[in-house]
């Protein structure tokens, strides 16, 4: 969505050339509540804006993406509901990539450093972003938050960067942070209907990692139904069956990351 802007008097211009500042002269005609110019003093005036609300986020996301490209780093945004297994999967990933690939992690967490601490000591550089600031915590990462962490990961030395988003099936899907691919971790304990209840999140995923498959024998979950529900909202999604506990399927996940 561009920053094209039209005034009621018919003049048009593009705000990109104004460096974000609204420096031009406003000379609009009076708006709909006034029939003649004598009413101008008390009437309201309508000004066309036509600006996308995510413009600012998306500009920063583009800057992030350009930095990633400059340093040749592949970036995966990892999303899920709380507790589906993002951090456990990342731990298993780091264990296997140690000495093979140079990995960075941006860990989004509302208040604590618990997850970041769990990923220490495995050869990756880990930068924590606490999203709880002031006015209640944000339950997602946005592009400026990721940008604020980039100074703390050595991009020039990395092959791949994982961004562990805040556990939440709603808002993280709305924010482009500059990633190349989106991976969703889903736990079968969440039930078959999750893709229908959170279609925007499931639609946005390039790959859905069905984690905790070691638990399948103990659950009544119908994985065929899950796959049908997923396909109805996201026909193109890849599905990987993984247990971050036993290690089953983790290699297929690494292959996906390598090609992401």
């Amino acid at each position: 969505m561009g920053r094209f802007h039209r005034h009621d008097d018919g003049t048009e211009h593009d705000h990109d050339t104004e460096l974000g500042e609204h420096t031009h002269d406003h000379s609009h005609v009076a708006g709909r509540d006034v029939g003649d110019m004598t009413g101008y003093v008390t009437g309201t005036e309508r000004v066309q804006v036509l600006e996308a609300i995510f413009d600012e986020n998306d500009r920063v996301a583009a800057a992030n993406r350009a930095d990633f490209a400059e340093h040749g780093v592949r970036v995966v945004n990892l999303m899920s509901s709380p507790g589906a297994g993002k951090t456990t999967l990342l731990r298993e990933t780091l264990v296997r990539l140690q000495g093979r690939s140079r990995v960075g992690i941006i860990e989004g967490d509302i208040e604590t450093s618990i997850d970041a601490d769990r990923l220490e000591g495995l050869g990756a550089s880990v930068a924590l972003v606490n999203t709880g600031n002031g006015f209640g915590g944000e339950c997602h990462l946005d592009a400026p938050m990721v940008r604020s962490a980039l100074g703390r990961v050595p991009l020039a030395e990395l092959d791949v960067l994982f961004i562990e988003n805040v556990g939440n099936l709603v808002c993280p899907a709305e924010f482009d942070v500059g990633e190349h691919a989106r991976a969703m971790v889903y736990s079968p304990t969440e039930g078959e209907e999750k893709p229908l209840k959170y279609p925007v999140m499931f639609r946005t995923a390039d790959v859905v990692v069905v984690n905790k498959i070691d638990l399948l024998p103990y659950l009544d979950v119908d994985m065929d139904l899950f796959r049908r529900n997923l396909a109805s909202v996201n026909p193109d999604a890849h599905v990987l069956m993984v247990s971050s506990k036993t290690g089953e399927g983790v290699d297929a996940w690494l292959d996906w990351v390598a090609g992401a």
Binding site: E45, Q48, I53, E138, P199, V200
Partner: protein, 112 residues
């Protein structure tokens, strides 16, 4: 809950256009595929505007239905539920053509 950050962005956009004038109404377009809770948005709008030129202004939300277009048969389908399949031929080779809007379309300013 990202309505708070949405409202902060809306406020920035609006004030950049309003300059120092008082804002009475903000018109938005919100697509059906955007996960925005209207009541929460309105509540947050009140919160972030205290003491600004937007204080007391009304958010007027224009909801845009989601539409997909089929790459196989060309038909367009208005989505009633989130099922990414063509209503005419059933193909899943579809593209979303409407429903992802999230923008400030216009603002109303008090006369000077």
């Amino acid at each position: 809950m990202h309505e708070l950050s949405l409202c902060r962005s809306i406020g920035q956009i609006v004030r950049r256009h309003a300059e120092d004038r008082r804002v009475t109404v903000v018109h938005l377009q919100v697509g059906q595929l955007r996960q925005v809770v209207p009541d929460t948005l309105v509540y947050c709008w009140g919160l972030v505007n205290e003491g600004t030129t937007c204080e007391g202004s009304v958010l007027d939300v224009d909801h845009v239905p989601a539409v997909i277009e089929c790459r196989d048969c060309g038909a367009t389908t208005r989505l009633v539920e989130m099922s990414m399949a063509c209503g005419a031929c059933g193909s899943t080779a579809v593209a979303v053509t409407a429903g992802e809007e999230l923008l400030v379309t216009s603002i109303e300013l008090q006369g000077v």
